[in-house]
Amino acid sequence: MEVVLKNYPRLLEGALLTLEVTLFSVAIGCIIGLFMGLLRLSGAKPLRLLARVYIDFFRGTPLLVQIFIIYYGLPIPQWFRGGQALLTAHFNVPDFISSYMLPVFLSGVIACSLNSGAYIAEIFRAGVQSIEKGQVEAARSLGMTSSQAMRFVVLPQAFKRVVPPLGNEFIAMLKDTSLLSVIGFAELLRQGQLLVGHYYVAFPIYLAVAFIYLIMTFSFSRLVDFTERRLKTGD
């Protein structure tokens, strides 16, 4: 127990990184998801197919494998390394791409946001499809184009409906970022592992790690409930 009490700042540091990587990933995932979700509903078959392939790939393969592919496998573009070399040479910026691999934080965000984007695309698609057909008909009958009907009538209503599933996605992603410990990203679980390796006591440390995850997910689900109730009143 003292191990935890003595080292809890390390765990909190990890928790902060967990939150950061989750926030970035879900935020970028929302942008990708909205875009892909709309492509999925588009009238053009090739666009629908593109979204389909993206969604099926990232939902149908393990996140851990995606993390490996991106961290170990994604080639770093030449211009990126060139830019890095320039920064190091002229502005004394530390060399953050020391090897041929992307830095762990960046790889983590890329992998998690691509993964999250696939799930969020389905959330947005379902949200849009849940809006009554009569809403689009009313908008079109007033002379709006289909994109105007989408922007001013369907999406504002769909956004309200996707708040709860988006909250769930955030919580799921918060937990899934623990997979990033495998590539050495110093998030919460990884910090716990390092402590365990140092002190040779596992139970209290991993219990503390679990507890911190629980605090984060619990408080976030309360926040989602609250927002949901607030949004309902304006309906």
Binding site: E132, G134, E137, A138, S141, L142, G143, M144, Q157, K160
Partner: protein, 240 residues
């Protein structure tokens, strides 16, 4: 004003309209009656292309709707439609419901849109409900806002698709009253309804449809007092 020739519409193998010919003159109020499943609503929805006809010709004010060069959005802007289920936008207030299309489709200023909105709310007797959301309005009030919303585009024609069928009986009157006012002002209207009283009082012409065809048409007195067709006779005996 509206000219429909040889209109056919099928959904897959189901044939809903089997050759409708119909002409509506400016300022005329045409009431469409008929048993359910006779194609009344589909006919109405074809007039603003919410349903795409399988064959036939439709033109409004000389503009052919099925011509690929026609911009259907600008045609729809001039054809107002009122739905059975109101279809108000639930995330917008009564006033915002009315102002949305003039703002976005006609690009008029916010001030102009709002004064237009307020005057239309006054016209339908809901001046005090401008900032109320649809779920706080009764069915009759919602339908009156929906009529005001359609009028905000200053349409040449108004289509009503069973506007009182989803209402509690005590609210039917207030909606019909607004429609009567409109007819009196000279609006061209096509109304699908089961309100025979309204058809008799306001309709210039009544069309009886059955099985996707216009079976009989004429003045309300001709149809209601001296029906010739047997199907019309049995329809009237059931509802009157």
């Amino acid at each position: 004003m509206i000219r429909v020739e040889g209109l056919h519409k099928g959904f897959g193998r189901l044939k809903v309209l089997n050759g409708i010919d119909c002409h509506v003159s400016p300022r005329e109020v045409v009431v469409v009656i008929g048993p359910s499943g006779s194609g009344k609503s589909t006919f109405l929805r074809c007039i603003n292309m919410l349903e795409e006809p399988t064959a036939g010709k439709i033109s409004i004010d000389g503009v052919s709707l099925l011509d690929p060069k026609t911009n259907i959005n600008s045609v729809r802007a001039e054809v107002g439609m009122v739905f059975q289920r109101f279809n108000l936008f639930p995330h917008k207030t009564a006033l915002e419901n009315i102002c949305l299309a003039p703002l976005k489709v006609k690009n008029i200023s916010k001030g102009d849109a709002e004064s237009l909105g307020h005057s239309l709310l006054k016209k339908v007797g809901l001046s005090d409900k401008a900032n109320v959301y649809p779920d706080q309005l009764s069915g009759g009030q919602q339908q009156r806002v929906a009529i005001a919303r359609a009028l905000a585009m200053q349409p040449k024609v108004m289509l009503f698709d069973e506007p009182t069928s989803a209402l509690d009986p005590e609210m039917v009157g207030e909606v019909l009253a607004v429609m009567k006012d409109l007819a009196r002002e000279g609006m061209t209207m096509v109304v699908v309804t089961h309100e025979m009283g309204f058809a008799r009082e306001v309709g210039d012409r009544v069309i009886f449809m059955d099985e996707g065809l216009i079976v009989e048409e004429g003045t309300p007195d001709e149809l209601f007092l001296e029906p010739r067709n047997n199907r019309l006779k049995s329809f009237l005996s059931k509802i009157l």
